[in-house]
Structure formats: structure tokens, C-alpha cells
């Protein structure tokens, strides 16, 4: 059920209807009430980051040897409880086989290794911060990883002009929750380093709900009838960077991916 508390609606309604809406809204939302922006919306501005092992594997997993054993414990796989509701990702049989294949070859197939744009929802829980800049018309999300960015349209929903890596985002408020409908995503991104993947039929609905001054609850419902037998959901807290003068730095990782991508084409040194 979607209820939009639009400013224009409230003055025109009776007190009874307003109270009813408020009651439904508070029944859905957690008890915490976020500070407001000047236009009365929950204030999500800030620099946020996930603190979990979801980017290694959305599903629960034990610690494991990393892909570069010669580097010792430096790049070992950290363990994680998993962020998938119910634990299992409901792959269709053919897709489950492809996932296994992806996982077996992840260091060469994972788009993150090539510094490709991460797509949604992976951008949210990559091990890099991202910043929310909120205006009444748009919510801009700037990600440190690869300089990825997206502008969430908060006005009348619009259609994507083309498919893209970061997709097309239309947002609205449901009580204290920022709900973003993401469509027109390319099939080239993954969900994690464990080979979890999707097709170009991916549809993501994200929910950002303030749960305390410095934490958000992030939920994403993932729907892709070409790959999954039913929609499924991930959820995790996001934490605010509270250090003084926190800011995103530049992580233009293209230069770190070039040896992997083009190193074999280097001129052979004579002699």
C-alpha cells in the first residue's frame, strides 16, 4: 500500500482524514522521526556507508581463502551473516548454474575488477562511502567508487531515455521513507563478488528509512523474472560518516584496472 503525504493534499483534507493518514503512516514507520529539510521532508543528507560483507556475498558465508594466497591474509574473504531475507536467492534452475560458473571465475568476470559502474543495488554496499545531496526536485547520490553517480527524480515519474549501468531512478516519500523505483538497468552488472547476477529485466525498489540520527535502514526488493522465480529482498543498516570534515575522495579506479585489462598487450621488451 502506497500513501503519499503530498504537501498539496494536506491543506485540502479534513482534520479527520489527516489524522487517519498520520496514524497509518506512523503504524508503518519505525518510532524514530528524522530531522526535516526546509521543505519538510526527512533529511537524509550526509555521507553513508554499509559495514558488512555483502559485497563479498549477499548470502551468509564463512571466511575463506582469498583469490591471491601469495598475499597471505591481506585479501582473504571476510565472513558475513548475509543480507538476503530468508537466506536464499530464488534462482531459476538455468540461472543457478550460471551463478555457480560466475562464482568459479569471479576474479576475471566480476565487473568490479574492471572498475565498471556498479549498478543498483551494489553501489550502496560496496566498501566505499557515498553521499546524498537532497533538494526538493532531486536526490543526488554520489558514490566514491568509480565516481558513479545518479540523480533521483522526485517529481512526476519519468521514463528512461536509454538503458544504463546505474539505471533510471524515480523517487517519492512514503512517510519517513525515501522509496526509489529503479528501472532500465543493463544486464552487465553483478550484485557481489560471489557471482550473483541479473538480466536486463531487473527492477529494483529501494527504501531508505532513517532509524536513528546516524543510521539508515536500507532495503531493496529485487525482481527479475528471467533469472529469479519470485521477487526477493535484501536489507542492511547504513552508517553515517560522523568524522569532522568527512568527504568523498577520488577513486577513479580505471587506472587500477588497466593492467588487468590491457597488460597482455604491452610491448614485449626486446632482449
Amino acid at each position: 500500500m502506497r500513501i503519499r503525504l503530498r504537501d498539496s493534499v494536506i491543506p485540502g483534507t479534513t482534520a479527520a482524514v489527516f489524522l487517519l493518514l498520520a496514524a497509518i503512516s506512523s503504524a508503518q514507520a519505525p518510532s524514530y522521526r528524522a530531522p526535516r529539510t526546509a521543505d519538510g521532508k526527512p533529511n537524509l543528507n550526509g555521507i553513508w556507508q554499509a559495514l558488512n560483507a555483502a559485497n563479498w556475498d549477499l548470502q551468509g558465508h564463512a571466511a575463506a581463502k582469498g583469490p591471491a594466497p601469495l598475499l597471505g591474509a591481506l585479501f582473504a574473504v571476510p565472513p558475513g551473516l548475509g543480507v538476503v531475507e530468508g537466506g536464499e536467492i530464488p534462482y531459476l534452475p538455468a540461472a543457478a548454474a550460471k551463478k555457480k560458473q560466475n562464482q568459479a571465475n569471479w576474479t576475471t568476470l566480476d565487473p568490479e575488477a574492471k572498475c565498471y559502474l556498479p549498478g543498483v543495488p551494489r553501489a550502496t554496499y560496496l566498501p566505499y562511502p557515498f553521499q546524498i545531496v537532497q533538494s526538493p526536485q532531486n536526490v543526488l547520490m554520489s558514490y566514491e567508487y568509480a565516481g558513479a553517480v545518479r540523480v533521483v527524480n522526485m517529481g512526476v515519474a519519468t521514463k528512461a531515455p536509454a538503458d544504463s549501468w546505474m539505471g533510471w531512478s524515480n523517487g517519492h516519500w512514503e512517510g519517513d521513507t525515501l522509496v526509489i523505483d529503479v528501472t532500465s538497468l543493463l544486464d552487465s552488472t553483478w550484485f557481489d563478488r560471489a557471482g550473483n547476477f541479473h538480466s536486463d529485466a531487473l527492477h529494483v525498489v529501494e527504501r531508505y528509512t532513517p532509524r536513528s540520527a546516524d543510521t539508515l535502514l536500507y532495503e531493496a526488493t529485487i525482481e527479475d523474472p528471467k533469472v529469479f522465480s519470485r521477487p526477493w529482498k535484501i536489507s542492511m543498516p547504513l552508517y553515517r560518516h560522523v568524522e569532522k570534515d568527512a568527504r568523498l575522495l577520488e577513486f577513479k579506479c580505471v587506472e587500477f584496472a588497466e593492467e588487468l585489462m590491457y597488460g597482455s598487450l604491452r610491448k614485449k621488451s626486446s632482449n
Binding site: A38, Y116, S135, S142, E250, E255, Y262
Partner: protein
């Protein structure tokens, strides 16, 4: 052929001229020679909730005004309205690949023509001057000051080191080929007549965000007066911090890498950008570059930006980059053939 076209389009030209004259008063206000810096009309300016000028929206800096002043104009800093109209007419009636003194044609420049531009939606009739300036660089000189000997030496050393090794590996290729820093995303932001120069601005409390369509280059600029990053942290696009001076957003950028090299600048490049919204559809972007290791004096350019419609597309440069591998593969094939011949 040019003359025949001229004659047949005489009527259209008259319409274009009238349209230009109708726009002229606005252009005149924004770039009056008497005004040293642009000023906004108080009261009419849109503002955000915190009372700052609202710079938000999608902007383009496309213009026919060349970056540097043509030599034959000497110290003439401004055209008359009539001269702008005449020049515009010449551009719009010109032939593809034709060079026109005083007009920066971007992709339609003779040396840049690679395609039938009409296939790509290129429309000469949309090209325009956005002020009466004869060059984007302001002042009597109107050109980038001569490079200091030490800067020329720096560039010559770099070029000599590269010579004969241009195709050895990706490291020797240009930053734009590698999708590390595309020409149009480099700051300061400079235009061409018909390149993809869309810029989207989103403002939140304490921040102004500049999203350049080219390679989705984004700067989230704090306006709370915080200091720059420590000197040892260097970034391709430097470190930008901002503050408001009256109704002008001033952005100060330092901490560039030595390879960023804007027009041959050193890593000590200091860039100051000023954004002033002067009308509903116009913002004046004025920048000054200082780098005593490259130029004896700072120099300044002023570029009017016009409101435009989106959408801003995702420009995924690296993801679609087949150029580097194609170039290097070609070079390796050439190496092999040369080796065979040598035997």
C-alpha cells in the same frame, strides 16, 4: 556553391537576424564592457530554502565564441551586436569543414570533421554566440599568456620521453583515450559549439553538486568554509571547496596531480571558479587560473551558461572503451611484422 546557398537562404537569414536582434538586449546586459564582474538583479533571483541563489537545473556552455581572440582583432574585446549577427549568419550559412575566423565550431571545425555531422543531429542553425565577447578569455590580450621557459621545458621533457614509445602500453596513451580524464570534463570547464556540454547542478544544505554529463564527472563541493585536503593527497580533478560571496558561488581548487596538466599547467595549479546566476536562463561562469610555474600572470575567462533541457545521459566511457585494446593490438601486430622483416 557558398554564394548560391547564400542567395537562396537570404530570406531565412533575415529571420535569423531579427531573432538575434530580439535577444540582443539580454546579451548586452550580461556582458557589458563597463561591468568588471557580472551582477545579479536582486529580488528576481530564484533562491533555495537556505536563502542562497538557486543554481539548480541543466545548463549548457555551448558557444561559438572562441577561447582565444583571433589575432586580427588586436585588443578589441567586444563585437557590436551587428557584428555578432553578421558572424552568426556566416556560420549558419557556411559549409561543413569551412573555417570561419572568430567562430569556434567544435566538431564542425575543419580539422575535426570525421563524419557527416547531419547524421548526428548537427544543426548549424542552432549554433550561437552567447555574448558579444570576441574571446572567452577576458582582458586586452584575449589569449593564454605565453608559457614560461621552465614550463616549456617541462613539456618538452615529457614529450621527448614519450617519443618512439607512444604505442608501448596503455600508460603512454592520453588520459582521454583511457577514460581517466576526458577533454570536456577537465576543469576549468571550457566549451565548444556543439559538444556534449551538459552540466546538472543539484544543491543540498551546505553543498553544491556539479554533475558533468561527460564521463559522469561529479564534484560535490562543500560550502562550509573547510580547508583543502592535505597537500600529499592529489586527485585528477583536484580538491574543490566553495563559499558564497554575496550571490556568487566561489569554488577554489588545488591538489591536482602533475599529470592533470590543464593546458600544460603544473601540479601547483590553483583554479578559482565563480558562478553567478544573472537571469532565469543565464549563469555566468568565470574562472581564473594561477600557476607561477607555468604562466607569469594569472589569466581569466568568462563563459555564459544557458539553461537547457535534459535528459543528462549516462556517459560510461571506460565501460565502452575498445580503443585502448584496439590501438595496442594493432601496435603489437605491427611489431611482429617489423620483426619478421628484420630477420
Amino acid at each position: 556553391m557558398g554564394r548560391r546557398l547564400l542567395a537562396s537562404l537570404a530570406a531565412l537569414a533575415a529571420v535569423v537576424l531579427i531573432a538575434l536582434l530580439a535577444q540582443a538586449p539580454v546579451a548586452g546586459q550580461a556582458t557589458s564592457p563597463a561591468a568588471n564582474a557580472p551582477a545579479a538583479k536582486a529580488g528576481t533571483l530564484p533562491r533555495t530554502a537556505d536563502g542562497k541563489p538557486d543554481l539548480q537545473g541543466i545548463w549548457t556552455d555551448n558557444t561559438l565564441t572562441p577561447f582565444e581572440r583571433p589575432k586580427n582583432l588586436g585588443t578589441k574585446e567586444f563585437y557590436t551586436e551587428q557584428e555578432v549577427a553578421d558572424l552568426t549568419k556566416r556560420v549558419r550559412e557556411g559549409q561543413q569543414g569551412e573555417r570561419i575566423e572568430g567562430a569556434e565550431l567544435g566538431a564542425a571545425n575543419p580539422q575535426a570533421v570525421r563524419y557527416d555531422l547531419e547524421l548526428y543531429g548537427f544543426d548549424r542553425n542552432k549554433l550561437r554566440y552567447t555574448s558579444t565577447r570576441t574571446s572567452l578569455i577576458v582582458g586586452p590580450e584575449g589569449v593564454v599568456p605565453p608559457m614560461l621557459p621552465q614550463a616549456r621545458e617541462r613539456m618538452a621533457t615529457r614529450a621527448a620521453k614519450l617519443k618512439g614509445h607512444e604505442f608501448d602500453s596503455y600508460e603512454q596513451r592520453s588520459l582521454s583515450e583511457r577514460c581517466l580524464l576526458m577533454g570536456q570534463e577537465t576543469i576549468p570547464m571550457t566549451p565548444a559549439a556543439n559538444e556534449g556540454n551538459l552540466l546538472q547542478i543539484v544543491q543540498g544544505p551546505g553543498y553544491v553538486t556539479l554533475l558533468h554529463e561527460i564521463d559522469h564527472s561529479t564534484r560535490v563541493i562543500p560550502t562550509d568554509g573547510r580547508p583543502h585536503l592535505p597537500q600529499n593527497i592529489r586527485q585528477w580533478q583536484g580538491d574543490s571547496v566553495g563559499h558564497w560571496e554575496g550571490d556568487t558561488l566561489v569554488v577554489d581548487t588545488t591538489n591536482f596531480t602533475s599529470l592533470t596538466a590543464y593546458r600544460g599547467s603544473s601540479e601547483n595549479l590553483h583554479l578559482i571558479e565563480r558562478f553567478t546566476r544573472t537571469a532565469d536562463d543565464t549563469m555566468i561562469y568565470r574562472f581564473t587560473v594561477e600557476d607561477p610555474a607555468t604562466w607569469a600572470t594569472p589569466w581569466t575567462a568568462e563563459i555564459p551558461w544557458k539553461k537547457t533541457k535534459g535528459p543528462v545521459y549516462e556517459y560510461a566511457c571506460h565501460e565502452g572503451n575498445t580503443m585502448i585494446s584496439t590501438i595496442l593490438r594493432g601496435a603489437r601486430v605491427a611489431d611482429e611484422e617489423a620483426a619478421k622483416k628484420g630477420k
